[in-house]
Subunit: 317 residues, 2 copies
Amino acid sequence: MMSELKTYYKSVCDADERIKSFIHQTAVLSSSAINKITGNKIFFKCENFQKVGAFKFRGACNAVFSLSNKELAKGVATHSSGNHAAAIALAARIKGTKAHIVMPDNSPEIKKKAVAGYGANITYCPPTLEARESTMARVLEQTGASFIHPYNSLQVICGQGTAAKEFLTEIPDLDILMAPVGGGGLLSGTAISSKAIKPGIKVIAGEPKGADDARKSFKAGKLIPSVSPQTIADGLLTSLGDITFPIILKYVDDIITVKEKSIIEAMRFVWERMKIIIEPSSAVPLAILLENPDLFQNKNIGIILSGGNVDLENLPF
Amino acid sequence: MMSELKTYYKSVCDADERIKSFIHQTAVLSSSAINKITGNKIFFKCENFQKVGAFKFRGACNAVFSLSNKELAKGVATHSSGNHAAAIALAARIKGTKAHIVMPDNSPEIKKKAVAGYGANITYCPPTLEARESTMARVLEQTGASFIHPYNSLQVICGQGTAAKEFLTEIPDLDILMAPVGGGGLLSGTAISSKAIKPGIKVIAGEPKGADDARKSFKAGKLIPSVSPQTIADGLLTSLGDITFPIILKYVDDIITVKEKSIIEAMRFVWERMKIIIEPSSAVPLAILLENPDLFQNKNIGIILSGGNVDLENLPF
């Protein structure tokens, strides 16, 4: 019998086969300035260069491409304020089906535009959990579309895990792999691939102090959802789900929180030194290293830069 | 006897050998969104990822590394408002010698900081040609340093030509190679490598309408310097020199000017679609394609992105 980890990882490998000709195998970049300042050798996996500008396209493709033709004919649906919505919209377009997206009406303009640009059918709702759920239920009833959760789905998780699989194939000698954590889709997929490929690697997540449900849940050993989280890292406002949490509890080594100031500093550091655009969520792992200069030294550290969708007219610096 | 072009290109190959272990062999990136909108296959050579954030490091290294030990002992010097100054400062530091930089006192903060960060000796002067020249003369007299011109120097030109050499080695089937033109160092080096490697390629330069001395000189067949040029592309304010101009006249196919609005649009387009940071000068060749959608279709077009040094607190959008 296969171990649980091997079973999960086999699903990552299946996802990889399913999506690889539709996604970008994103570049891995380094910066001698950032290496020097942090005292480590840091490798950045650039999911900001991924289609739709974020890793979310991996999980969305895997989930949409796994549907039967009969299911696909009725379309797909999700609720999301951002990157997952764009990812589902593009994955649906590739499969020639319709995407129905429920979005809070206060979503960033750049994200509304992106989703509309991929031809999705958008239904706006007030930015509350109740409004989102009732609107989503109505859309699903009217369309019969398949609901694809932004993170609490094994298909989505295994799609996100393909990023770490590619990363460790390109840079096998990482000591530590870091990713940000919001709902936990990227983190749980990253942990599955990392521990399956290299059992000795440390998987460490970064989380904003103002949205620290994952760290609290991880330390308590039970799900403790966020209450009115506040952070500039708008991709990390969501709380862990009942599918992502057990995987994280089992395969992640630590979750470390960072201040808003450090997130903005790390983001600016990457923009200025690497000349690449990352969104605040992407900067959270590097913020850990800037806040805790003695935590790691002389390590090979991989960081997954989760996305690059930023409203250029609304920068924090 | 070698032809003039072959002689020049041999110097590019010598430069390549001299500098290659000190510079980045920069990535070539593409964007399906930009390909779709322009109707061509566009390859971007990312000199914004080059050390000091601009192609200028190539020419600076070649010029500094070509000096004798006796010359190096007295240091190197230049006047520059930006990228060339940082490039000379870093090249000098690599050789363990001093860089003396004359900078206009109204230079962008980000560029002052960068030059100071590389340990150069900065002398500020008022932003006039007279002040710059008299200050430079004084610094050279006091130090005995070797003056390295920002563009009107064969060593600098041949260093810049290594970018096109790398580019055509990686993407041999380019139909057109485009670069921005200011003083003409990058353009003349690009033209030498392009025509030597692939005689049938077209080399096309982009220039802001508000600083169009190169186009005027090119059309008239004689040097016509700019009078109070105005453009957001702060790397392109300088006029051609008597060494760059004859090379450009002989080996460049066309120089096309663009509006400020198109430069800003092209810059934003690259930021949003490619998630990389480029400075306005880098956006000028793409601006040609956006302004003139029918000029080229179904071509393989190479564009050298010259640099990525932008003041993040002072963006045009």
